[in-house]
């Protein structure tokens, strides 16, 4: 397991995709989304948890997710978000775009020559 100082910063524009993916398996409250990202990435991605909420509200405005108040596991009132049909379509588009990006970057990195020597 990587040490805490080896955490990676979240790439610009990927937060929406991670949130949509976290909701793909069912409704979640904001804290649940943060916990899912942390555990799924094995604590590699460093997400300032507060930044999730403006993103959730923005996605709600765009119609990708819907929010409803419900009861949490700790028996407290919590706001649950769930994917809409538009959100699922958006998630597919974002995953496609991400995979194309990763393939393109991989092609660049696998090109022979110009290898960087380890210090």
């Amino acid at each position: 397991m990587p040490a805490r100082h080896e955490r990676a910063e979240l790439l610009q524009g990927t937060l929406d995709m991670l949130i949509l993916k976290s909701l793909a398996s069912g409704p979640q409250h904001g804290y649940g989304v943060a916990r899912w990202i942390k555990s799924t990435t094995r604590d590699v991605l460093s997400v300032e948890e507060g930044s999730l909420y403006p993103a959730l509200h923005r996605m709600q405005r765009r119609g990708w997710i819907k929010a409803e108040w419900g009861q949490s596991e700790s028996n407290r009132r919590a706001k649950y978000y769930r994917l809409t049909r538009a959100g699922r379509a958006q998630l597919r588009r974002e995953i496609d775009a991400w995979e194309r990006l990763v393939q393109a970057v991989s092609l660049v990195l696998r090109t022979a020559g110009g290898e960087v020597q380890a210090p």
């Binding site: 300032e48 948890e49 909420y53 403006p54 119609g63 009132r77 706001k79």
Partner: protein
């Protein structure tokens, strides 16, 4: 996209504006509190002291105040936009209604006001174009001028979408001439009826119909007449004092018809004396005469007679019902 806006509009219409900031603020605050509470609880369950757990949860969360403000702005953005559109549409509607009301103001008034305004406008417009004069001379059988003859004119015009009939009166001057200025529209259709009535002279009239040209001066040559004495009686045979009498028509022995329009007859109304007698001096013996008569407080009635030789009194028995009637 359209669906999202429909939802936003529905949300806007459903939410009272005063409750919106309070509701959204409370919702965002509760959501953040829940997050921090869960984060602290998880740490505490892992054995972290509560104070340290609070510090760690706050550090991971970031600036809660800024997060709340950002969430609030995003949540109310649609509402604010809807509210601005609402205000804009209301303002546009108010301006449009105001402009429509200003443009249609006469139509907004009652029917009478609308007709009055339209008529006034039409008459004012028409009057500007009315430069036609009625002029002429009244003379006797020797072509000598008759002074003080009543000249009674009625002008008929057809302003846009209407018809107008206006009466004018004057008297002839020392040279027998008369002028009634600016009473018909030169260049447009008009008709003029002119009658002259002078003491001990025949009633004469002329009628002119024009499609636009100016009216030439008219000469009325009035013949001398003896007075026609009328005695007005009620149905009970009693003479009536104060009955109003107006010569209306004279059909002379040559078959020529001369008329006084009732509308222009005011200056020549006469009243019977205490003996119920009135003398009309505009008919010649042998003329057919139509005469308007009104008993006091009654309606106008018409009587037709053949004018008898001079010196005879014609007795006219009048209906005394309120509604007048003719015989």
């Amino acid at each position: 996209m359209i669906r999202r806006w429909l939802i936003a509009v529905a949300e806007y219409l459903r939410t009272p504006p005063s409750a919106l900031p309070r509701e959204i603020g409370a919702s965002v605050t509760e959501e953040i509190k829940f997050h921090l509470h869960e984060a602290v609880q998880e740490q505490v369950e892992d054995g972290v002291p509560e104070a340290a757990a609070h510090r760690a949860a706050s550090a991971r969360f970031g600036d809660a105040g800024k997060v709340a403000a950002d969430c609030y702005s995003l949540a109310v953005a649609d509402q604010i936009l809807c509210h601005r559109v609402h205000l804009l549409l209301t303002a546009v509607l108010a301006i449009a209604l105001g402009a429509y009301w200003a443009a249609q103001r006469p139509a907004g008034a009652g029917v009478a006001d609308r007709m009055e305004a339209a008529t006034a406008g039409t008459l004012a417009e028409e009057h500007d174009a009315w430069t036609g004069d009625i002029s002429g001379q009244v003379v006797n059988e020797r072509a000598e001028p008759i002074r003080g003859a009543h000249v009674l004119a009625v002008v008929k015009t057809w302003p846009p979408n209407g018809y107008r009939q206006q009466a004018y009166m004057t008297t002839s001057g020392p040279d027998g001439r008369f002028t009634i200025a600016d009473v018909y529209p030169v260049g447009r259709q008009y008709e003029v009826q002119i009658a002259t009535v002078a003491d001990r002279r025949t009633l004469q009239s002329s009628y002119f119909s024009s499609e636009g040209e100016s009216l030439e001066p008219v000469v009325f040559r009035l013949e001398p007449t003896p007075p026609l004495e009328l005695r007005i009686e009620g149905a009970d045979g009693m003479t009536v004092e104060g009955a109003e009498v107006v010569p209306h028509r004279r059909l002379d022995s040559r078959g020529q018809d001369h008329l006084v329009y009732f509308q222009s007859a005011d200056p020549i109304i006469q009243r019977t004396n205490e003996a119920g007698i009135v003398r009309l001096t505009c008919y010649r013996p042998g003329d057919r005469a139509a005469i308007y008569i009104r008993l006091p407080n009654r309606e106008w009635q018409t009587r037709e007679i053949t004018v008898p030789p001079s010196g005879r009194t014609v007795v006219l028995k009048m209906n005394q019902r309120k509604d007048g009637g003719t015989s």
